[in-house]
Amino acid sequence: MTTIISLTILGVLTLFLGIMKKQSWLLPVILLGLVVSMVLTLRDWNTFSSYYNGMIIVDNVSVAFSMALIFSAFLIFSLAAHYYRGVLRPLDDIYGVMIFALLGAVMMTSYGNLIMLFLGIETLSIALYVLAGSHKEAVTSNEATLKYFLLGSFLSGFLLFGIALIYGSSGSFDLGRISAFVTSCAGIYPPMFLAGLFLLIIGLAFKIAVVPFHFWAPDVYEGTPTLLTAFMATVVKTAAIIAMYRFFTHTFHGIHGVWDTTIWVMAALTILLGNLTGLYQPNLKRMLAYSSISHSGYMLLAVVAFSAMSDNALLLYTLSYSIATILAFAILILIREAHGNDYFSSLNGLAKTNPSIAFCLTIAMLSLAGIPPLAGFMAKYYLFTTALEQGLLWLVIVAIAGSAISVAYYFKPIMAMYLKESNGIKLMVETPYKVSIFFMALLVVLIGILPFLVIGLL
């Protein structure tokens, strides 16, 4: 709860720094504010309290995921000074809207009531529609925001109708009451409840970009300004997956049946199609978009394999995925600035001109592919063991096959960097930007070597 209040105050403060013409204060205040709100979030650890008649329930899972979200946002803001250095217009509105999007994401990790879930998703989405179009002069950015807005608002309707049908059959928006209703059904659910559940899954799957509902993702990711694409691919995805996870863990308590077959099929399709389509992408940004689609398939494994361990596995997975993805996007920003495009040929010979940057991109790619000893491997290992313990043998086989396919496209940039001849353009990097890149690379290695830092938490 203190997280939500502190982030609201930070967002308003950002806007008011803008109208007081204190542009140079913006980023220091935001970074400090995010640290403060992380500290305030940590104070809720082990308190297990609920606010406003169960509208918001703060437990250790929600605290841990809120921390992960704010930390990802912190990493993204640490890149913002470099990304926007040539922009003359005031940036307080973009930063403010980013913080409000983060606020929506935090609401989605700690909701105890479906109304709160919808409110969180809308706070997040409306902010994102604005952010996707925040580069007003670029046609691609306009296209991205229009596509995202039309599809997003349509799918929000699905979600809302799903919530209404669940309310109609169970008589409450409260997760605890719905859980009691599920228990009282004893396996035979009324059709209206099932229809509601189905629509709710569709609405959330759109936000996560899971396969039958993923078509918007590559186009929107490509058109959105790169820094904000990193925000979409990490913060938004983590928030949506934890919202789905929270719904099913709080209402079904491990009762398997109707819903997990649907998610099983969606996870398998996402992993296969995401990785196979990823093979054919001509540039790094679209490749990362498909990589993020296929990773949402792996994350769905945790939703299907709900058990005592899955909280931890999902936390480790989202954290390692987020850090590696932000790292990859950070280097993508540099490449787009230097070359004006991000085709794989632009990466040629980067190992000779900028060896340290090339090494960091290699770490990110290997971690996303799941090569030991990096964070991505440990995350996949824990996630797949959790799924195996729940008897999801075939899904794990599909996931491992998907990982094997993904190695092919994650090695494309690495081969371009190390084996091709250089085209002679050296990337210009300032020291603070380099520090945040190295910090993220270090984190990826550190989580890979010492996964118990995260895995023992929940």
Binding site: V12, I19, S169, M192
Partner: protein, 116 residues
């Protein structure tokens, strides 16, 4: 609620709506004349295309008006329970006004209220 009643609901719903439309065609008195096809029965028809760009200022004003519109929606239920809640309700609504006021102040300072 079982599946049968849900299906029945759809059938009855479709029938009733269809019935109302068809019934009104037969029952309602109809008279047609060229005047009826015009956009305004009184006044002059519009000149040129209506698909033109509107000044973005209208939208800004509409959005800022929304602040006060929503404010009014929240004040009515507040006024109903104010007596029972007492001081807490008062403090809450003051915080609410304060936040809305900040929004208006931001819009004002950003120049959204200036008509160009």
């Amino acid at each position: 609620m079982s599946a049968e009643s849900l299906i029945l609901f759809f059938i009855v719903g479709a029938f009733l709506v269809g019935f109302a439309i068809v019934f009104s065609i037969f029952v309602a008195p109809t008279s047609t004349n060229p005047q009826k096809a015009e956009p305004y029965e009184c006044g002059i028809p519009t000149e040129g295309l209506t698909w033109l760009q509107f000044n973005v200022g209208y939208y800004l004003f509409a959005i800022i008006f929304l602040i006060f519109d929503v404010e009014a929606v929240f004040i009515f239920p507040w006024a109903v329970v104010m007596k029972e809640m007492g001081m807490i309700a008062f403090v809450e609504i003051v915080i609410f006004f304060f936040v809305l006021g900040l929004g208006l102040l931001y819009a004002w300072k950003k120049g959204a209220l200036k008509w160009e």
